[in-house]
Every structure is written in structure tokens, then in C-alpha cells.
Amino acid sequence: MRAVLMRLAGAVPTIFGVVVVTFLLTRVLPGDTATYFAGPAATAESIAQIKASLGLDQPLPVQFWRYLVALGHGDLGMSLTTGQPVLKELVTRLPASAELTLCGLFLAIGIALPLGVLAAVRQGSIIDHACRIISTAGVSLPVFFTGLLLVYVFYFVLGWAPAPLGRLDTFATPPRPLTGAFLIDSLAIGDFETFRATASQLALPAITLALFALAPIARITRASMLAVLGSEFIRTARASGLSGPKVVVTYALRNALLPVVTVLGMVFSFLLGANVLVEKVFAWPGIGSFAVEALIASDFAPVQGFVLTMAILYVLLNLGIDLLNRAIDPRARRAA
């Protein structure tokens, strides 16, 4: 328990670093923020006035302190395009992004783990070759391009998928917000019609993300299973007459999982970035598309809030992965 607390404390400097970087990003804004706010007809006087009111005439450490205080109050600034506080926008849009990313991740794990295990067990077989092709091709795929291909095939040609226009049909009513994830909310009130509609909208973007995340997971699963299968305790287990599946699943897989869980951190880094592109392709109303819209409108506060939110989420995810590692591997517990 103490080790867990220590690990939690270890995340504090990282979060501090993230905050410093996001703060610095605003201070190197192209041109002058005050000039930007003042508009084209501004005089030198009015610019100075705005500078003072924004606190931009203060020394950097003072500005940083003000930024920290504002963050402490949950104030990420206002979005110029929507006129809403950035925090509110992010909070209302986060469930959409989270639902999409997690569905993509679970789908990827669900396919990549068995694939990697089978490829390692039947080394040199068709499955092994398929695994190698998928894991090399998968990392080469630009997500925005795979997304478009899927839309073309499954929406335009086959007509199986609905139009790539967000989380639900324009005429459908979203379920009463409970968690914000439509899949869970609709199930919670037993509304299977909405559940089906949500799932069909979610399918293509989630598959796009999964295709992207599949490759590194399958690759590392195969490599780590191969390493474990060659070790002596597996030979002993086999020699003791245990059945093949028992050896593979209970003995080998459990030991092979550690590198897989570690690689999940990297996968998350990719996924959170890919999420932005996928949201743009599928007009998904998540925080990624919000940030992209703001970027195009040169509305900087939402972008900054978005970068900070993503980074903090990512730090927390890595923390979660570490704790999961501890749960799987007793050695990690003792090493700390």
C-alpha cells in the first residue's frame, strides 16, 4: 500500500512538468496575445491596457503563479468561438472521446492478444505470417485514411454502416445522461433501440482505432510469448504432462503479459493522438474535434486546455498501468 502511495506521489513532478510546458506554450504565442485581443484598430495605449488587464505585463513567474491559481479553480479560460468556459466544454465532450477510445482499445486487445498468442504457439504458421503482416502494416496506416476507407466500403458501397456524422442520428434522442457514455446509459435504462443505434455509429470509428492499436499489441504479445515459451519452467510444465492449453494460458500467458501491459502505455499515447484524427473523420463530438475546430479558428484557450487535459489523462493512465503491473507481477511490488 505504501508503495502504491509512493508511486502516486511520483506522478506529481510529472504533472508539474506538464503544467509548466502547457503554460510556456501559451507564452510563445505567435505575435502578441494582447494585440490579437485588441483587434486591428487598436492603439498602442489600448494594447497596453489589455496587456495589463490580462496580466501580461507581469514577470513570468507571477504570470505562472496566476495560471496555477486559475487552474486550481478549474479555470481554463473562455472559448472565443463558443463563448463557453473551456472546462465546461471539455467536460461535456470528454465522455464521447472516452467511449470511443476505450471501445477501440478493448477491441484491439480482444483481437491482438489471441492473435499474438496463436502466432507464438504456432510459429511459422499462416497465423504467424498474418500476425507479422498485420503488425507491420498496422503501424504504417494513417488512421485518418483507414477511417475514410472503412466509410467508403461500409457506408457507401455496402450500406451497412450509418453516415459518419457523430454519435447518434440527428433525429434520435440521446439517452438520459448518467455516465455520458451512450452505450452504458442506454443499457442502464433498458433502451435497446438506442443502444443498437449507438453501437452502429460507434462501430466504424472504434474499428479504425482498433486497427491502429492492434499492431503494437500483437507484436509485443508474440515476442513476449515466444520468450516465455522457450523458458525452462514451461518445459517442466510440459514434461509434467500438463495439457497444451493449460500450459499456454495459465503458465505462459500470465508471465508474458507484463511486457504487454507495459506497452499499453505507448499504445495509449498513440491512441489519444489518433483519436483526434478519427474524431475529425467521423465528425465525432469529442474533445479532439473540439480542439481541431478551435485550432482552425485560432482560438487558443481550448487548445491549451485540451493539451493539458490529454496530458493529465495520459499521466493518470500510465499510473493505472503501473498499478496493474504491480497486480500482475509480484516482483514489481517488491522492487519498489
Binding site: V18, S140, P142, F144, F145, Y152, A223, F300, V307
Partner: protein, 301 residues
Amino acid sequence: MSATTEPAAAVAAPSPVVRQKSSTWRHIRYVLSENPVTLFAAVLFLCFAAMAIFGPAVAPYDPLASDTIRALEGPSRAHWFGTDQLGRDILSRVIVAARIDLGIAVASVALVFAAGGLAGLAAGFFGGWVDAVVGRIADTIMAFPLFVLAMGIVAALGNTIPNIVLATAIINFPLYARVARAETITRREAGFVDAARLSGHRDGVLLLTQVLPNIMPIMVVQMSLTMGYAILNAAGLSFIGLGVRPPTAEWGIMVAEGASFIVSGEWWIALFPGATLMLAVFCFNLLGDGLRDIVDPRRRT
């Protein structure tokens, strides 16, 4: 493979240096013939390099000339890849775009190789506070989802191509610094470094003349492996409207422009630039894997 042949070759040959060089060539030839995929990647790479160098000269049409009468035409004999919404020839645009896409990737990889490589080298060699500072910078960068950080950097510094290059270099920094650091640490105490130190060379000289040449092969593999990622990253940024701006021909923008036509069935606008982008990334990934097999056969997965 080479480990077993080299000592024998050195004994037999009158001039070990020349002999060793030819054995490296032999090893490369061996790897290429054993692994046709790497050969394929090498050929593909040459094609892309040719496209980037001679692009505008070989493109059949002017990539910016629009011909609205022939807009949105599918692939035909006159326009192999079809035409886009302004009637521009997609094949010409795809070819011309190679220069800018590969240019961004090469520039950013060169930049991060210099910055990250030197930082890692210094961190591994000197240890102490240098190591601590480099490690902290790398950790802070790694704390962000990398594409998101690149978005933030480009948004903050301004929406220009040099900033895309810089952002792509920054997000790759930790990777290079770490590899260079780890490789340097294993060689810091090597005999040849000690020998050079005893003959009176200063640390800086040691670092550049003894350690750097020895970690170069690994770093080159790293460069090839990250080229693909750099291309993807730059194309992704321009897909969301950062960096390169229309009407410049660039694969990411072309896919973005074609995106709105996918739902109405005009697939060729997005497909050809997207497929080319994919092929370029695939090519560099295969090439990186192949180079790694040549340089460091143990790391093969």
C-alpha cells in the same frame, strides 16, 4: 553470422580493413537475398527518392492548374488517378507532394538526430547532472500523448512548415536521446575509449571521435524507423489543418480534401494520396527493420 566469419577473414586476409569492408557488403547482400522484403523496401525507397527529387519534372500536369470542366472525373487514360474537385490532376499532385512530405520528415529526423543524439551522447558519457537534465526533459515530453503535444507546439509557435518540422523533432527527442544514451553507456568504459583517453584526448574529442562513430549504426536504424512515423505525424497535422496549407499539394491535405467526397462515392481523391502515404510509411518501416537486421541481428522480433 558476421561474428563467426570475421575473425577467420581477418586472419586470412593480408589487409584486414579492406577485408572487413567487403565482408560487410557480403553480409548486406546476404541479408537482402535472405529477405526479399527488405530488397523490395529498398527499391520502393529509391522510387520515392526519385519522386521527391524529380517530382515536378516527371508529373504529367501542372499540380496547381485547375480545369473545372473536368472536375471530379474518375481515373481514366488521360488522368490515371482521376481529377479532384477543381479538376487538378491527382497523379501529378501525388508525385509533386513527395518532395514536401519527405522533405519535412527528413528535416525533422535530421534535426532530432543532431539534438537528441548529442544530448543522449552527453548524458550517457558524462552522467551526473547532464544525465539528469536530459532525462527530465525526455520524461516531460513523454508525459504527453505525442501527437497532441505536436498539435500544441504548432498551434503555439505558428502554423508554418518549419514549426511542423520542429514539433515532429521535439516529439521524437526522447527516443533518440534514450537510444544514444544507452548505447553510449555500454561503450563508455570500452577499451578503445580508455586507450584514446590515456593517449591524452579530451572528453569532447573522445565523445565525437570514439563513441559517436560506434553508436552511428544503431542511430541510423533509429532514423529509418522514425522516418515513417515522422511522415505520418506531419501528414496527420496537415490533415487537421495545421502546417502545409492548400492549394499546396501534400498527401495529408489531399486526403482531407477528398474526405468530404468519400460519402458521395468519389473515392479516388482521397484514396491515391492516402495509399501513397501509407506505402511511403510502410517502406520506411520495412527498411528500418531490414537495416536493424543488418546492423544488430539480435534485436529481431
